[in-house]
Symmetry: D2
Subunit: 338 residues, 4 copies
């Protein structure tokens, strides 16, 4: 079977398609025939060596993928051949707060990921996906959607009447917009593109702020709430956005720190957080129980993830380059099967 590897070093040039022997599931494992993969910015950083420069190589990249179980190892219960499943981002994080082991059990690094025709995963490391989604759509859920769900629902206790601020049109932000609307909350979205602003409004945003024209968008968001501040900020923008997020959020509100984009040192004062009792909650994707709860909600609402563009397996490099361009609105995906 074929798989992509980051082989001899980091960088898109090192991403090569190789022939590997068919993997066999050990005790408690399953083999999945992968049908679709979605890309996250994390995957691009991983390929480039920016996410973890000490990651041993070769590595099969990509945390997010969906496929069909085609073989069961000894002792597997509750799954059968033919089941359609996603790989879970954190293979050994089932519920509750994360352990160090759970945090190290992530696909696409350090564990080989989903950009392969066949993968072997622990039975606890796969989960069913909503039936109304095709494979490509379902492949968008493991990282970006679950991050948004964990931030707003599992950790964020979102409720109707709340106001949520999301930044831009990336995968996490778009899912956060969807989930906030699903819970009867209002969404203020920021963007730097008139085109994307239109898309955000169509998807349900109550207000869109163009941060090119309104660099003090945190203050603007606060004004939109009548001066109270927003209940929840989904902070994905990294350096420079936190100061505005702290201006936007209400006393006692929550800022969810999301994903690797927020990295980098910042000349940052957290004093406003303590003066208004704000909670800054790190969110590292999420656990299996949240994934299942999210799946129920997505099924019930018939939610369809926003897919920007789907590439073929042979076009994997082009798919990564499309992510790198930042031009996408919605998820960038790869289809492995016809």
């Amino acid at each position: 079977m074929q798989a992509y590897e980051i082989r001899d070093g980091f960088g898109l040039d090192e991403l090569v398609c190789v022939e590997r022997p068919q993997p066999e599931p050990g005790p408690g494992q399953v083999r999945v025939r992968v049908s679709a993969v979605s890309l996250n910015y994390r995957d691009l950083m991983m390929v480039r060596g920016e996410y973890n420069p000490r990651q041993p190589l070769p590595l099969v990249p990509c945390s997010d993928g969906v496929g069909t179980i085609e073989a069961l190892g000894p002792g597997v219960q509750g799954l059968k051949e033919g089941d359609r499943v996603a790989g879970l981002f954190a293979q050994r994080w089932l519920d509750g707060p994360p352990t160090a082991d759970a945090l190290r059990s992530t696909l696409g690094g350090p564990i080989d990921g989903m950009l392969a025709q066949q993968v072997v995963l622990d039975a606890h490391g796969v989960a069913p996906v909503p039936e109304h989604l095709d494979d490509v759509e379902a492949a968008t859920l493991p990282c970006a959607a679950l991050t948004a769900w964990s931030a707003l629902v599992t950790l964020g206790n979102l409720h109707a009447g709340d106001v949520v601020l999301v930044q831009g049109s990336g995968g996490v932000s778009t899912f956060a917009l969807d989930f906030a609307c699903m819970h009867g909350a209002r969404v203020i979205a920021t963007t730097g593109s008139a085109h994307k602003a239109q898309g955000l409004r169509q998807r349900g945003a109550w207000q869109v702020i163009d941060h090119r024209n309104v660099p003090q968008w945190g203050k603007a968001a606060r004004v939109l709430t009548g001066g109270e501040g927003v209940d929840h900020v989904v902070e994905v923008g990294g350096v420079g956005t936190m100061a505005q997020s702290l201006r936007a959020v209400r006393p006692g509100g929550t800022i969810s720190l999301i994903g690797v984009l927020a990295g980098g040192n910042a000349d940052l004062s957290l004093t406003p957080a303590l003066m208004t009792q704000v909670r800054i909650q790190g969110v590292f994707v999420g656990h299996r129980a949240s994934f299942l709860a999210m799946g129920k909600a997505i099924t019930q609402h018939g939610l369809r993830p926003m897919v920007d563009r789907t590439f073929s397996f042979g076009e994997a490099r082009a798919a990564f380059e499309h992510v790198a361009s930042g031009a996408h609105q919605g998820k960038v995906c790869i289809r492995l099967t016809e």
Copy 2:
């Protein structure tokens, strides 16, 4: 009656004792004859103009004080003359998350504080104090003790078996040590003084790390927990300590951001917080309901706050200078009555 005012400008030189007319309680208010005050670093910053340079003057400083009700305004229920009460730090924060109004209702700025022989406060803005404490001891509770309680109990869900890291021997840190022990948790304390280390151990610290010898004390704390990390960090040290706190805390753990000491911009990366799902919780003292719950626990355990030194009303400036020296271990207090 006499009161101290920050009168014509900021600075200890501007702190003057003045004669003021006896204040009369309006509807829903009480007049308290103040018997003891305790000082916080915030009070010193307020006098110096460092806390809020736009604070209108004159201002009576000091958030923390205890006294006896000597007059009731119209419509007051549930209180009577002779009741011993503390002023609550946030006069209009009764329970639940803070409102903007609650955050602005703090004694010692913007509202006139307790460094006066008589003060008039809202009936909801005072609360009884544990009977076994003398007035000076009781005067230490409104700001420092309540901050520690809010951090660990109200917001922190502290439990037996947890490990808590406290920094130094300041008021909040000492109360956090006390409350952690009270809940059956273990405490790792940092200090830069062998003498204070001794005091911390006597008060119940499980381990003390001298940060002069161990600049990587965050890593050292983690090692003490067998590599897992501490459950809770009470972060009071401000610039430079956060990086160590992020190293000390376990995945899914909590860092309580406390008080004005943590101010100032910092060249800080929050990436570790999100990679391990850490919660950074701003703590702005706390509400009336927490004060009452804390009082029950202090009473039950016969806890006595650590008082470093008590000054007379006439020595108020010396008391502030003692706070400024940083030489104290425990609270610095002022007694107004014989």
Copy 3:
């Protein structure tokens, strides 16, 4: 001004309209010109002496009413003449868990209620109502709507994808249906009337079970969830329904015990609750902070309460009789002004 009193004894025959002097607001109080009242089954029980046979008389009944502030007592802040407000069910319950005092501070018994042209209330005991509602609609919120909100949101942590079971078409059940839909949850409703079943479906119920045909409706609800059980039961039916509710609810789920209808002794086994770790949560209407949060959500969604019928002030007795008939679907109201 005129007011209804339960005067010399209990029973609808003792409900008389009397002339009372205009009440004057004391310190911290306001006088409200009442424009609309809504009735709850509790109010009927109060009149009949079934709610609290030891209630001292005379008593002005009715916990729920809306009106306009027409006079302020000394010391009132944050309110002004002309503000439209509701009286809060529990006058002295502002936030957090209830105190015994808060539980005793309820309108319509033991405190004189809203079925009067003018009432005097504590300033903290009134709150603004959503602007898009007329007075009659707004008058439905203090008891029934807040009970449903407290059950599902404040105490129940409702989320999208959850399944909620409501019983019948009473006020609490209808608001619970509304709030569940608002949060993206699915609702299974029980009823004993084909006509009401239709109304429940139109209002958003996912499934309606006619308990006349399906006495084992708890089991039927479980089947509808694929055997898992519902996440939340809003239990209003009292004796006999709890056993079915325990069959309907999923392991780890919640049953909200609501209101006085659930009274009466029952031959009841709670063993199923402990064998599946179910939480049975008593809900006593709710606090001011929940009322304000609910108001934001109602405003945002433009929710309009279901009003069954509105009577004039002179027809108060007929209004109570209509409640007693059980024929209503939605709230029964009384309009005091033209």
Copy 4:
């Protein structure tokens, strides 16, 4: 190897010691050489056929046991031969709310239990025990101790200053007393024996009420709290005690419904629960994550469970009869090895 079975029917007479072949661990499983077992009232009910009359036979009874891993099946990670472990009560409940599958995964019925010289368990179904405990002491933890921990800590949010009411001197009640004291809470215990009252006081009870003299012990407990009511009742007494528990508990407080003793129908009114917003929380032992957290706390505090008497493997029937007698104070145990 030898094991006890409930073989051909229910009843202590049917409990027989049989020779079974040595079980071999399958994928993801381990074989444990059992060294000690503790008995719960549930185990007695299981033998008698009172717990689940439809339980298929034969069944090896007893949920609680400790031993040493002596063989690993394929694919087991994180465990090794020689590790001392307890079997977890619910073999497939790792964290979070229980699933139906988790609730069915309990040892000693429906799954073969620990009263055997060798048992095979899932690797996730065993967990380390505190080092300072001998095997007999450690064997008391899986059911009774974890139930108390789940009730007060995992689900009960116990804190210093709280008052907890426990009933009698059974295993759950004694551990609840221990854990409450560990968290700085006060304990009121009820008993019907002067001798046991003495034991409860020695173990840390603040107050002991003899329910033979004080049948209205719920009211008495309330009086002891100054009329407020206790924060938490650990309700194990079953029929007849709930009414007193509802009198004892404060508004907004919690009653933990524990174990099979609470079974049986009761002529019970839950009205007081809703009128004071009490939470009645079913507690079904608990999950793996709680077991680990409890173990940390027990280790830190050097807590030693109260063992009433230890029988030899050959005396298993006498051990069950001792449980049936109700004369014990503390746990009844069986030692399988020298």
